[in-house]
Amino acid sequence: MKNIKLKALTKSLWVFHLCIGGSCNNCDIEILDLLTPRYDVERFGIMLVGSIRHADVLLITGSLSRKAAPRAKRLYEQMPKPGVVVAVGSCALGRGIFKDGYNTPCPLDELIPVDLYIPGCPPKPEAMITGIVRLVKKVRGEK
């Protein structure tokens, strides 16, 4: 049942973008860039939504600062399941260059289960689109 729901959702993904602190914001700008005329992901039905309760995909950037961590966990729990978590950028992958900082306690996937990792600093919009396409294919069971 869960798989059917998820497959149905891949027709038109509603994305909630979350910057969980400890981010230089570059990944966030590149994500917003996807909406602009050159990449224009809205023509694929991918839309940014304003509330986590409407989202199918939780797009996370940032290296998880101590202050932001509890709120990030709460937001993940509020996301209606089934849903997909995507980590964008080196910081979300494993804190990147801030690995040894005193305010970045742990990598994101120790707090929230992540389904897709998109590396880069920042990842190019083309890389993000490739990642989402691969995820959609995987959910649908295609190769």
């Binding site: 600062s65 101590r66 202050k67 005193y102 305010n103």
Partner: protein
């Protein structure tokens, strides 16, 4: 008279260790008890813009550098104070002179543990509310 001569004239007797690293970078030290008066003279009387303050943990004590910029000529004058008492470091707050000093004093308080006497709102700025008491990230642990 250049702005540097103005400083020397107005703050006569209070300036120690005047050092000109290059024509645009000047450093001098003052006693910590004079800092409020000196900041007031530089900020209000002489028209410097307050850039920022940087606190450092050194073996001799906590050193705060107040960086003032004179934009008409491009001079950066940094005023150095040393707080020797590392067990109970405190200094007069400059937030009474201008709201521009408020945030950096809160930051220095939570990063180094320096108490700013007279600050209107000394509470955490950057660190989480559940950050452990007594742990100051910018303090150095040095072997004695």
């Amino acid at each position: 008279m250049s702005i540097l001569d103005d400083i020397k004239e107005k703050l006569q007797g209070k300036i120690n260790d005047w050092y000109e690293h290059n024509p645009h970078r000047i450093y001098f030290s003052v006693d910590k008890k004079d800092i409020r008066e000196i900041a007031r003279v530089m900020f209000k009387d002489l028209g410097f813009r307050y850039a920022i303050a940087s606190g450092t943990d050194t073996p001799k004590g906590f050193e705060i550098l107040y960086h003032f910029s004179f934009d008409k000529t491009g001079h950066m004058v940094s005023v150095r104070v040393l707080i020797e008492d590392k067990q109970n470091p405190e200094i007069d707050s400059l937030a009474v002179i201008s709201p521009a000093f408020e945030w950096i004093e809160r930051e220095m308080w939570e990063m180094l543990g320096i108490k700013f006497i007279g600050h209107p709102n000394l509470k955490r700025l950057l660190l989480a509310d559940d950050w452990p008491e007594g742990k100051y990230p910018l303090r150095c642990e040095r072997e004695s």
